[in-house]
Each structure stands twice: as C-alpha cells, then as structure tokens.
C-alpha cells in the first residue's frame, strides 16, 4: 500500500494505492493520526481511485477516523471507489455515516 497525504487548511486529502487489509490497517491509522494531530484537521477525504481491495480491517480504519472527527464537527468522505470496493462499503453500512461516491460518480 502506498499513501499520499495533502493538507489544505482543516481538510486532509488521502490517496491510498494498493490493498487495504489487516497488514496495512495499523500503519495507515498511525500515519493518519500523525497527520491529523499535526494540524487542526476536521475533514478527511479519501481518494479510492487506486484502491484495489478492502476488507473489514480496512473498514475499521475508516470508522475509527469517523469516530475521531464526528464529535468535533468533522467529517469523512470517500471518493472514486472502484466497483468492488464500493460494494463492500455499501454492504458494511458505511454510507450511513459518511459520503461515499464511486469512480463512476454513484453516490450514497
């Protein structure tokens, strides 16, 4: 997994390339925590256009970010999810708490 972070004010944009499973979930969360603690980040936008796989360990990271940001008025948004990743997000109920859009522009 490769990770690119870009901070713009209170918004942190994160692009994840590769696969998001238990092998990388821990280091991803650590890196995100570091980025979020270094600045006054309130909103997290994930670019999933190059994320090929996600399972429940990866979803755990998304939920944990949401739990961190929601109480301080923040948000988590997922953009450009590939069809297989989008399906997993949908089935997990994630779109109930965060905005999710697919690479084709479908939104939940």
């Amino acid at each position: 997994m490769n990770l690119y972070c870009l901070r713009e004010g209170t918004v942190l944009k994160v692009k994840i390339i590769g696969e998001l499973d238990m092998n990388v979930a821990g280091s991803l969360k650590e890196r995100l925590d570091k980025e979020m603690n270094a600045a006054d980040v309130r909103h997290l936008i994930f670019d999933f256009s190059e994320l090929d796989f996600i399972d429940s360990s990866g979803l755990g990271v998304l939920i944990s970010c949401y739990r961190q940001l929601a109480p301080i008025g923040g948000s988590v948004r997922i953009e450009k999810a590939k069809q297989n990743v989008y399906r997993i997000l949908e089935l997990s109920g994630i779109p109930k708490v965060m905005a999710v859009s697919s690479e084709g522009g479908d939104t939940k």
């Binding site: 092998n23 796989f53 399972d55 429940s56 979803l59 755990g60 297989n84 399906r87 997990s92």
Partner: protein, 150 residues
C-alpha cells in the same frame, strides 16, 4: 458440507506462518485456484473478501497476533463447487454463535463484520472450534462449469 459435492478434481494445501502479510498471499492463492473455472471478476472479489476475513480472524483472534502460529489453507475443487478450509491451532472460540453475530467483536476497535462478510460472500459457511485447540472455517462457493467442458 463435503457430502453431495461429487468427486474431488483437485486438492491443494498450503501452510503459512501467522504473519499479517500472508493475508494478501491467501487472496493471491485463491485467485490462482479459481482460474480453473469461468468465474466473473465480481465472484472472485467476493471470494477474496471471504478468504481475507477468515485468514485475518485466524491471525488476529486465533493467534492473537502472535507471529509463530501456522495457518493452513486447503482448497477442495469439485466440478462445480469450491470448498476452502482455513484452519488455525490458536486459542479457539468459546461461543461461536456470538462470534458470528453481526457487529460483535472481542476487540472494540474492530467492526465485527468478518463473519458477516464470510456469510454474505459464500454459499455455505461452517465454523468449528475448540477452546485451546483452534478453529476451522469452511467456505463453500458454487462454481460455474469448468472452462471448455460445456
């Protein structure tokens, strides 16, 4: 679960250490084995998620993230069915029914979706476990006719 599936055409068994990086390996193995059938990308993706969850469970819960356990994966290929057995010799599950409930997790940081995904993405799921001895998960998935045999 093995009854009424007909004759086993191919059987593959692989063992690996309970390292987190081997979860990706388990998905690659699954992808390779299913090339035997004409399955769609979406069916393959389903199976990869189910396998990923089962192997992650073995490592995270079975071996409590200890890196010296062994996880075994056995693929039983029938004409139009695939059985994948994922076995660990870890701590076992005391209450399987509770463990399989959606949103239940022994770890509060986790979503408790593992077994739900395994159920969702397979046609059959069987879990057997003995405390102190380990857990065996059987994932069953219907497969289309073998390439070139139609």
């Amino acid at each position: 679960m093995r009854k009424d599936k007909g004759q086993i055409i191919n059987e593959i068994m692989v063992q690996f250490t309970s390292l987190a990086e081997n979860v990706a390996l388990s998905r690659v193995l699954t992808s390779s084995v299913v090339t035997h059938w004409d399955i769609t990308i979406s069916q393959l993706e389903d199976l990869k998620v189910a396998v990923s969850e089962a192997v992650s469970n073995a490592i995270i819960h079975g071996y409590e993230n200890q890196k010296d356990g062994m996880v075994s994966m056995r693929f039983l290929c029938y004409e139009t069915y695939l059985l994948i057995e994922i076995k660990d010799e870890g701590i076992g599950i005391e209450n399987i029914q509770q463990a399989m409930e959606a949103n239940f997790s022994s770890d509060k940081q986790r979503m408790g979706l593992g077994f739900s995904f395994m159920k969702m993405f397979t046609d059959e799921l069987e879990v057997t476990s003995e405390v102190g001895k380990g857990t065996t998960v059987l994932l069953g998935k219907k497969m289309p006719a073998v390439k070139g045999k139609e």
